[in-house]
Symmetry: C2
Subunit: 197 residues, 2 copies
C-alpha cells in the first residue's frame, strides 16, 4: 500500500541546498551533504532532481527572483536618475551581504535556458536615455555594477592608495550616470569612441 514513506520533499531539498550554497559556495556543495541535511542518502536525491546541476539551477532561479525583488523595491517611487543610483547601491549591498548568492547568479553553466527576464534596470535606463540607446546603456550599467562588486568581493582593488570602497563606488556610479546623460544624444558606433577629447 504505502511502501517507503517519503522522508522529504523537493521544497525541503531546495531549501537545504540554498543554505549550503550560502555557507560554502557552489563549489562547496556536495550531493552527500545535501542528502544528509534532509535526512536521506545521496542516491535518493536523484528521484527529485535530475542531477547536481538541475538542483543548483533551481537554487539559482530562486536567488535570481529575490535579487530582482530587492532591486525593484530600491527603485520604487524615485525618478529615473535617482532610481538608478538606488539600484546601484542595493545591487552592491546584496552582493556584499550574500556574496555566495550573488556569485551563483553568474555561473554560466547555470544560466536560465531562455535567457534572463527583462530587468528593472533596463526599464529605468530606457526612461533616462531614451529608447534608442536603452539596450546599450543598460549593458553599460550592468557591466559596471557586475565588474565593481566582483572585483570588490575578490579583493582585487588595491586599497593602498584609494579611499574607502564606499567612496570609490559612489564616485564611479556618479561618473557612469554622468557619462550616460551626456551621451544620450551621441551617435552609437565604434568610430566615435576613438575620437573622445
Amino acid at each position: 500500500m504505502s511502501p517507503a514513506i517519503a522522508k522529504t520533499s523537493e521544497t525541503e531539498i531546495l531549501a537545504a541546498a540554498r543554505q549550503l550554497v550560502r555557507q560554502n559556495g557552489v563549489d562547496g556543495l556536495s550531493m552527500r551533504d545535501v542528502a544528509e541535511a534532509v535526512g536521506i542518502r545521496a542516491p535518493s536525491l536523484y528521484k527529485r532532481f535530475d542531477d547536481r546541476e538541475a538542483l543548483l539551477r533551481a537554487v539559482r532561479a530562486q536567488v535570481q527572483e529575490e535579487f530582482e525583488a530587492v532591486l525593484v523595491k530600491a527603485a520604487e517611487g524615485h525618478p529615473p536618475a535617482q532610481a538608478l543610483t538606488k539600484i546601484a547601491h542595493a545591487y552592491r549591498a546584496f552582493a556584499r551581504g550574500k556574496p555566495r548568492m550573488y556569485r551563483i547568479l553568474h555561473r554560466p553553466e547555470l544560466a536560465p535556458r531562455g535567457g534572463d527576464a527583462p530587468s528593472v534596470t533596463r526599464n529605468v535606463v530606457s526612461s533616462l536615455v531614451g529608447e534608442s540607446h536603452a539596450a546599450q546603456a543598460a549593458d553599460c550599467i550592468c557591466a559596471f555594477l557586475h565588474g565593481f562588486v566582483t572585483l570588490e568581493l575578490d579583493g582585487s582593488f588595491t586599497r593602498a592608495d584609494s579611499k574607502s570602497p564606499d567612496e570609490a563606488f559612489a564616485f564611479s556610479v556618479y561618473v557612469v550616470l554622468q557619462g550616460l546623460v551626456n551621451s544620450a544624444d551621441a551617435p552609437s558606433g565604434a568610430g566615435r569612441a576613438t575620437q573622445v577629447v
Copy 2:
C-alpha cells in the same frame, strides 16, 4: 650515481598546464592529465609543485604578464584619452581571444599574495583625470572592463534588442570616458552621487 633520470622539468610542466587550462579551463585541469602530457605519473608532479593550486598559481602569473604586456603595447605612443580607448579594446580582444586565460586571472584563490603590480591603466588614468581621483577612476574603468567582458563571455547580454556587441562596447567606453573627463573636478564622496541630474 644517476638514479632515476629526470623525465621533465618545471618549465615543461608549466607549459603543459598552461595549454590544458587554455583548452579546458581551470576546473577542467586534472593533475593526472598534466602528468600524462609530460610523460610522467601524477605523484611525480608533487616533486616540482606543492599542489594543484601552486601549479595553477604559476600559470596565472604567466598569463598575467602576457596580459599586461598586451595592454602596455596597445597604449604605447598615444595621448591619455586615446590610450584608454586602445587599452579598452585590447582588453576585450584578449578576453574574447583567450577566454579561459582571461578567467584564470580572476580566480580569487589564485590571486597573487602581495596584490597585483601597478597596472598601465592606473598610470594612464592618472594623467587623464589628475592624481586626486586617479585610484577611484582606475577602479571605475577596471570594473567596467571586467564586467563587460565577463558578461559578454558568459553570454549574459540580451542581444535580442541591442545592436552588435561591438557597438555596445564602443558606446560604453565612450560613456565611461565622457563621464570621467566631466567628473574630473567633482568632489568625491557618497553624498554627491545621489544628487545627479
